[in-house]
């Protein structure tokens, strides 16, 4: 854009500028610290408002929470800010207003790296694996912040996703869509997180693979890790959800248990196609 002095003027010259893998996040800066804020749910993003960089607000007083041992699902129409809400909880964008609390601590000022350290695991919707690295290296990168021996965790992940054990030496970019998602979830589990956040884990995979992925996600949840998930397939997601949030234009429209939402006449009409 001509108004942006740091823009590229539409230049697409690959001999001087590398377009690949550049970050789009405007993460919370490092150096912030958490402070105790007891009470409330295990994880809550409360009254969040904000957007990317200097852009307009995408979230408007949005609240998302998940309790221990639960699966919470965010659904809503395209462009409702579902992914943005997720990123905000993870500190990938600066909040103008609102707080994020995890396990009795206010972590609003923490950078994403520090949130990983606090036990959050996040699987983005796209570009969620290191394509040029092997499956094993992807998992190792997941455990980047761990200083202890993580071979046990890797074994657990190979048990959860056996196909990855066979492909451990292959570059992750050569795997199929479903296998890539397994790598992505596996990478996030490598930190042994206290909470797993999934942004549309079933986007672009076939229905059979989708069912299998849902099964695996339930399996993870059974081990006691609470899961916060954005899903495009609202009906199927709400069926396994303990709690559901319907977002519209960056704000909470409906919330309740998965069953309640599925039974709600208005939610069904507007978002579940009748």
């Amino acid at each position: 854009m001509s108004s942006d002095p740091y823009g590229d003027r539409g230049n697409k010259d690959a001999s001087i500028a590398n377009p690949r893998g550049t970050g789009s996040a405007h993460p919370v800066k490092r150096g912030g610290s958490a402070h105790p804020a007891p009470g409330g749910p295990f994880l809550i993003g409360e009254g969040m408002s904000g957007g990317y960089g200097n852009g307009p607000d995408i979230l408007h007083d949005c609240t998302i929470a998940v309790e221990k041992g639960e699966i919470a699902v965010i659904v809503g129409p395209n462009g409702a800010g579902k992914s943005t809400a997720m990123k905000a909880v993870f500190g990938m964008l600066d909040l103008r207003e609102g707080h994020v609390r995890l396990d009795g601590e206010d972590i609003t000022a923490l950078s994403p790296q520090d949130r990983v350290g606090k036990g959050m695991g996040f699987v983005p919707q796209t570009a969620n694996i290191f394509t040029s690295m092997t499956v094993e290296e992807n998992l190792e990168m997941g455990a980047f912040i761990r200083k202890d021996d993580f071979s046990d965790t890797m074994e657990q992940i190979f048990d959860l996703f056996p196909i990855l054990r066979d492909k451990r030496r292959q570059p992750a970019g050569e795997l199929s869509g479903g296998q890539r998602q397994q790598v992505a979830v596996g990478r996030a589990l490598m930190t042994q997180p206290k909470l797993l956040m999934l942004d549309e884990p079933t986007a672009g995979v076939s229905p059979i693979v989708m069912d299998e992925l849902f099964d695996r996600i339930i399996e993870v949840a059974r081990t006691g890790i609470p899961i916060l998930m954005v899903e495009q397939n609202a009906r199927q997601a709400l069926e396994i959800a303990d709690k559901g949030y319907v977002l519209v234009q960056g704000a909470n429209a409906f919330s309740g248990t998965g069953k309640e939402l599925l039974a709600d006449e208005e939610v069904r009409k507007s978002f579940l196609g009748g």
Partner: protein, 336 residues
């Protein structure tokens, strides 16, 4: 017909100089490719970074020589090299703090960083000229030849001599050590993997807890090391002149692009492809062909495909051919 003499002549004028030059280009291209892969821009100041690191080494070498320190048959410059590397690292880290860091914070597009690197190029070029002047500087000492042409002739009884300069051997050995260390670092260590991860996918590296500033710092340290080593080896093999380093930018870029920008393996291959094309195409083949052919067919002219002034044209032509047939370079680089 005399194949042995032909082969010796070929080794003497094409193979050995090509290997030495190729190693130097490869080291230079590795630096360019790392900056491209991790900081995501083509660093126009890279030639001058090489000149800066080499300059520090030259100055320290002179100082050591004045103290009477020597490595015997080896050039004193090898002793000064670590200090040159440290000097270059400090320079690049200071540059990053003072210049590049600001644009990363602003999330400036890579093209802007390219323009910024032009400014850095001017400044580094100016600093090097201010300190050591624009002229040719000699800093090579120690044994000049491993095998001189005369010794070789005496040893083998061949008509053609084979001279192996000690700098050529040093170039090759140093390059192999440095490249091996680099690959070990990138593929086996935690920090190296974090660099690869950051290059592959910045946001996801962030999510995994990689500290981007640390990755960038590491990158500059490695780039400074590679640039200084490349600069010193080139200076030892040819001579140290600031402007030549600036001119090396084209073959170095060509090498990095031919190999596939962002791919370290590609940078090395590209370096040798460019070096050998330059040397072969600008070499006068009269002697070699003279040995190969019967006297009646021996060529009259120099049989030089192109005059040496066209060596840049050769790098460029190779570059264009590779891009036309394999737009991502010989090894799959990041430029799609």
């Amino acid at each position: 017909m005399d194949f042995l003499n032909a082969f010796v002549a070929l080794s003497n004028y094409v193979l050995i100089p090509g290997i030495a030059y190729g190693s130097q280009l490869a080291l230079g291209a590795l630096g360019v490719t790392l900056v491209y892969g991790i900081l995501r821009f083509s660093n126009f100041a890279h030639g001058d970074t090489m000149a800066f690191g080499a300059m520090v080494t030259v100055l320290v070498t002179w100082w050591l020589q004045s103290l009477g320190v020597s490595l015997g048959p080896l050039p004193t410059a090898l002793l000064a090299l670590p200090i040159g590397i440290i000097g270059c690292i400090l320079m690049l880290l200071a540059t990053d703090r003072a210049v590049y860091h600001f644009y990363r914070e602003k999330k400036a597009k890579p093209v802007i960083l390219v323009i910024v690197s032009m400014g850095v190029m001017f400044i580094m070029n100016g600093i090097v000229r201010l300190i050591i002047g624009p002229d040719d500087q000699r800093f090579l000492d120690g044994e000049r030849f491993l095998i001189s042409a005369r010794d070789f002739k005496e040893m083998t009884g061949l008509a053609e001599g084979l001279a192996i300069k000690s700098t050529q051997v040093i170039t090759l050995i140093t390059a192999i050590i440095v490249v091996a260390l680099l690959f070990w670092f990138l593929n086996r260590t935690r920090a190296g993997k974090s660099m690869r991860a950051y290059s592959d996918n910045e946001d996801l590296a962030l999510l995994s807890g990689v500290n981007p500033e640390r990755v960038v710092m590491l990158t500059w340290v490695i780039v400074a090391t590679l640039a200084t080593v490349a600069g010193v080896l080139y200076g030892l093999d040819k001579s140290f002149k600031p402007f030549t380093y600036f001119q090396l930018l084209l073959p170095i870029f060509a090498a990095a692009i031919v190999g596939g920008l962002g791919s370290p393996l590609g940078a090395i291959t590209g370096g040798f492809v460019i070096a050998f094309s330059e040397v072969t195409i600008t070499y006068a083949w009269k002697k070699v062909l003279g040995y190969m052919m019967p006297d009646s067919l021996a060529p009259d002219g120099l049989v030089q495909l192109l005059s040496t002034d066209y060596k840049f044209a050769v790098s460029f032509a190779i570059l264009l051919i590779v891009l036309l047939f394999k737009p991502t370079g010989l090894f799959k680089g990041q430029s799609v």
